[in-house]
Symmetry: D2
Subunit: 311 residues, 4 copies
C-alpha cells in the first residue's frame, strides 16, 4: 500500500543484519521483519543511516529491499534511497517501488546550505525518481549538517505533492512540530504525516506536540508502539511512566557511533538477530559498555517485563 499523509504509528528504522564475516544474514532479516511487525509496528524503514545503507552496493540494496517487502506482506516498507547522485537514487527508488515498497526516504546531501539550494535539491530528486513515488523528507541537521526551517519544509511540501511524510529529527524540534502543525491549521501547508526520529529521545513530548508516531530503531520498538498508542489515547501519565522507564537505555542507545552497536546487541539478546556484527567499518561495544547495557536492561526489567526475557 502506498504511503500517504495519513500514516500513523511506528515505522521502525530497521538495521541490516549481517553475519560475522560481513555477508547479509537473511534468516535474521526474516526473523527481524516478523518481530517488528508483531511488536506493533505499522511499517518499517529500511536502508537508512542506521541500516548501514552506504555499505551495501546497488545490487545488495535492491535485493534486501525485495526480501523485506515480500516478507512484510501488507505492512508498509519505506526504502532509504539517498545517494550521491540521482542516477543511483532513481535506480533504487524505481526498483523498490516495483517490488512493492510503500515509498522512499531522501536525506539532503551535506553540501546544501541556502534555503533555495535545499528546495531545489528536492525538486531535482523528485524529477529523478518520478513524481509518482511517495517520499519521506528527512530533516536531521545534527547528522547531515543541513538546516531546514519550517518555511523551507513548507515550500518542499507545497511544491512536491509526492512529499507525504516528514522524518522529524531536528534537535531541538518540539517547536518545529508545533509550527508545522500550525501551518496546516492555518491552511498554508497541506497535511503531512510527521514521524519522529532522534532515537526516540523526545517521543513523549513529540506526540503531545502533534506528531503521528515514531520512525526510529530503538531496541524496544514494542515500547515505542505502546507510547504512541497511550499518547494518542490521551493517557498521558501512563505514556510518560512507560517512556521514563526506558529513558536511561534510550539515552544510552542514542550515542552517535555507539548507538547501532547497542541496538544490535539488545536485538541479539532479545533473540531477533543471530549476530550483532556490523559490516566494516563499524562500531563495536567494548566490554565495559556491554556490562553497562546489561545493567540498564536489568534495571529496566523491574518495570517492563519485556526487558527480562533475554537470551
Amino acid at each position: 500500500m502506498r504511503l500517504d499523509e495519513t500514516a500513523k504509528g511506528v515505522y521502525v528504522i530497521a538495521p541490516t543484519p549481517f553475519h560475522e564475516d560481513g555477508r547479509i544474514d537473511e534468516a535474521s532479516t526474516d526473523r527481524m521483519t516478523d518481530f517488528f511487525l508483531e511488536a506493533g509496528c505499522e511499517g518499517m524503514t529500511i536502508l537508512g543511516v542506521m541500516g548501514e545503507a552506504p555499505k551495501l552496493d546497488q545490487a545488495e540494496s535492491l535485493e534486501i529491499s525485495r526480501r523485506i517487502i515480500k516478507r512484510a506482506g501488507d505492512a508498509r516498507i519505506i526504502v532509504g534511497v539517498s545517494a550521491p547522485g540521482f542516477a543511483a537514487m532513481r535506480a533504487l527508488a524505481r526498483g523498490s517501488m516495483e517490488a512493492g515498497a510503500a515509498g522512499v526516504m531522501i536525506a539532503p546531501p551535506s553540501t546544501l546550505r541556502t534555503d533555495d539550494q535545499i528546495v531545489t535539491y528536492y525538486a531535482q530528486a523528485v524529477a529523478a525518481i518520478g513524481d509518482d513515488v511517495p517520499f519521506v523528507l528527512q530533516d536531521y541537521p545534527l547528522l547531515f549538517q543541513v538546516q531546514m526551517t519550517p518555511g523551507v519544509i513548507r515550500r518542499i511540501v507545497q511544491e512536491n505533492p509526492s512529499c507525504v511524510m516528514l522524518k522529524h529529527e531536528d534537535w531541538p524540534g518540539l517547536e518545529k512540530i508545533s509550527t508545522l502543525r500550525g501551518y496546516t491549521a492555518e491552511g498554508s501547508m497541506r497535511p503531512i504525516s510527521i514521524l519522529c526520529g532522534n532515537g526516540g529521545l523526545f517521543l513523549d513530548f513529540e506526540m503531545e506536540r502533534g506528531a503521528d508516531g515514531a520512525m526510529t530503531g530503538y531496541c524496544f520498538p514494542d515500547m515505542l508502539a505502546d507510547v504512541v498508542r497511550l499518547s494518542a489515547q490521551g493517557r498521558r501519565e501512563a505514556a510518560h511512566d512507560l517512556f521514563d522507564a526506558h529513558l536511561p537505555l534510550i539515552r544510552y542507545e542514542q550515542q552517535p557511533g555507539v548507538g547501532l552497536a547497542v541496538r544490535k546487541y539488545v536485538l541479539k539478546r532479545r533473540g531477533v538477530l543471530t549476530s550483532d556484527a556490523q559490516r566494516k567499518p563499524g562500531g563495536t561495544l567494548g566490554a565495559a559498555a556491554r556490562l553497562e547495557v546489561d545493567y540498564l536492561l536489568a534495571r529496566l526489567a523491574c518495570s517492563d517485563p519485556r526487558a527480562g526475557k533475554l537470551v
Copy 2:
C-alpha cells in the same frame, strides 16, 4: 586556592544573571553564588558558553569574575577565557587570576582540524596566559567541531604542566574516559582531574568510568553533587535511582538552543534568579515548553522533594 589535578565534585557551570533589559543582575549573581555553594558544589565555572560569555564585553567579564570570586570565599572559581585572539584571552586570564580565580578554561577555536593544530593552539594559549595559570581543557566536539583524540589530549597534558583538568564533553565519551584513565594507569600520562559536561546526560556512567565529578549547569546541581557522592561511595543503585528520576528533565534541558532557557526558568522557579532573561540574542521558552517543564517538575517532585519547593 589554585586548581590542581586533585579536584573532585561539582564545579557548576554558572549562568550569568541578567535583568529583563539586559543589564547584569548583581543581586541574583550573589544569591546564585550562595545557592550553588550551599547546594554542595566544590566550585563554580563562570563565563562559559552557557554563561553567555561572548555577549559580555571585556570590562563586564572581568567585573563579574571579581564579584563572584569575592563572594565565593574559599570555593574555587574557574573563569572561561576563550577568545578569538590571545590578547583578549591573556587580559581576562591575568585579571581573573589576580582577582583570586582558581584557574581558567580554554575551548578550542572551531577552525582547528589536525592533531598538530590542536596541540599547537594550546601551546600558544599557555604562552599567552602564562604557564603559571592552571587551565581546564574543554573537549566539546559537538559544539566546537574540534575532535581531540585521547592521544591529542595526552600530548597537551604532557607538554603543558599547567593543564590540570579536562572538561569532558565528547559525545559519546565513556570510552574516552576509560582510555585516559588507562594512560595514567600505565604511566604514559600524568593524572588530571576529569569533570564531565554534556548537561549531565551520562553522569551516572561517567563516574563509574573514572570521572572525578561534574562540570555542568543542570538546574539541580544539588542532585549532581548527590550522584557524585553516592557514586564515589560505591552506592550504585542509589546513584542510578536518583539520577534516573532526574533524567527526563536532564534530557529536556540538554536541548541545544533551548537548554539555557530551561535552566534559567527552573533556577527562577527555585528562587535563585529574579529573572530568566538572556541577553540578546537569546533563546526563550514558549508557552508550550514552559508547561512541559512544569509537568516534568511536578513528576519529579514525587521522588525528589527539592523539585516540589518552587516559587
Copy 3:
C-alpha cells in the same frame, strides 16, 4: 565623511603593522596610511581579517582606529567591528564613529546557516550598533562558511537602510554581481556600492559586471586603483593588460594562510612597513617562498616599473 551607496574606487584592506615583538608599529601605521592614500585609494578598511583584528584587544582596536582616522584626514575609513557578541561590536562601532570613521564592516558568524538566521543576525547587529551607523555587509563564504544568496542580500539591504555597501567576495561571484545589479535595475533593491575582495583575483571582470571598485589588500593597491579607473573609463584592453601583468603575483598572494605574509613582505620591500612581522600566531614566509615572491616581482618589473622600486 559618512559612507554611502555612491562609494567608488579602492578601499584598501589595511594590514596592521607590528614590531617584531608584537607591539603595534605606529610609525609604519602612519607611513602606510599616507602611502595608501597617495596610491590612489579612496579610503581604507581597517581591522578586517587580514588586519589581524581578532589578535587585538578592545583598547588596541579603538586606539589604532583613532590613529588612522586622524591621519587619513578627509579619506574615508571603514572599521571592521565583527565580534563574537554584540556588546563588543557596539563598543567598537560607536567608538570608531565618534572618532570619525565613515562606517563599519560586519562579517557573519560562521554558525549561521538558514536564510532567516542570516537576515535576523544583521537586524540584531544594526539594533546593537545603532541604525545611524553606515555598514558594509561582508559576503565571504569561503572563509566564514556562510552562504548568502542574492535574495538574502536584498532582504538585508531592503530591511536595513544603514546597509550601504557590499564587500563582495563570494567565489565564484561574477553572476552574483550581475544578479544584484539586475535587482536594482528592475527596482526591487535600492542601489548599494559593491566593492570586491578575494585578493583582487577577479577584479578585471568584476568591474565589467558592475562593481564600483575594490576592497582588498593586494600589495600593489596603486595597480588596483589604475585597473578600476581604466575599467570605469571603458579602456578594456589596457585594464586587462595591467591586470594580467600582476596576476601571477595576485594569485600567489591569494593563498590562504600565506597571503598576509606575502603582502607584508612586499609592502616592506616597497618601503611601507618597517617589519613584515605578524602578531602570534601568524604565518611566515619560508626561504623558498621569499625567493618565489622576489622572482615574481622581478618578472613584474619588466612591465610595471613600480615593481622595480624596492628596498
Copy 4:
C-alpha cells in the same frame, strides 16, 4: 601498465562527455581520449569529481572505464573509485583493474577529522580494494574538508605500499611539496609520485618545488604538458612565460561550480566534445560568462596559437 611511484608528466582529469539529454556521449569520449593522449598527456584520470562521477550509476562507471581504458592502449588510466561505502568502492576498483586500469584514486570522506581517522580510513580502503591495486591519495581539503598534514600523508604512504602517488591539491600547498620531498630525502618516507591539481593554478612553482607533473583538467592540457616539460628541462623563464599567458583563463576556469562548464565549453570550441552538457544537476555558463571566456581565448591567441584554432 601498472601505476607506480615513477609516474611523471600530465595525467589529465577527464570530464565525462554527455549528450544534451544526459546520456553518455561515446563518440566524444573516444575523440577526447585520442585528443588528450596526442596533447602529450602520459595518462588520464577518469571518474573524479570533475568527471561527474557521483552522477553515474555503478554500471555506467564501469562501462565508461572499460571504454576509455581500451581506447587509450598503452597509456595509463587511473579510475576514481571514491564511494560512500567500501562495497561499491571495491566493485569499481576490481572491475577497473580487470579491464586494464593502471590504478585507482581515493578521496577521503568529508566526515574524517582526526589524524588517526584519516590513516584508518585508508587502511580500510586498501583492505577493501586489495593491496595489489596501486592507488592515488587525493589531498584536496578545500573540497573534501579533510586536512592531512605531511605527517599523516607519510603514515599512509609508509603503512600502505600500494599508495604510489599523491594528487596534491592542498591550498596553499607549495610548502607541503617541499616537506614531503624532504621526508624522502632524509629517508623517512619512500618516494612517491606527486602530481598537482587545483586547476593548475600553481603548477609553475609546484614543479620547481619537486612535483612530478600535473593531474588536472585545464582545457589546454597541451599547455600543461609543455610547462611540465620546460620546467623539468630547467627552462624556467620559458615555463613561466607560457604559464603566465594562460593564467587569466586558468584562474577563470578554477572557479568552483563554474569551472567544469568553462572547461567543457572550451573543449567543445576546441573540437573535442560535441556538447558541453553536464548531467543534471549541473552548472551552466551564462551569456556573460561565455563572452568572458571568448574574450580570454582571444587574448590568449595572441601568444599561444592553440587558442586561435577554435570551432
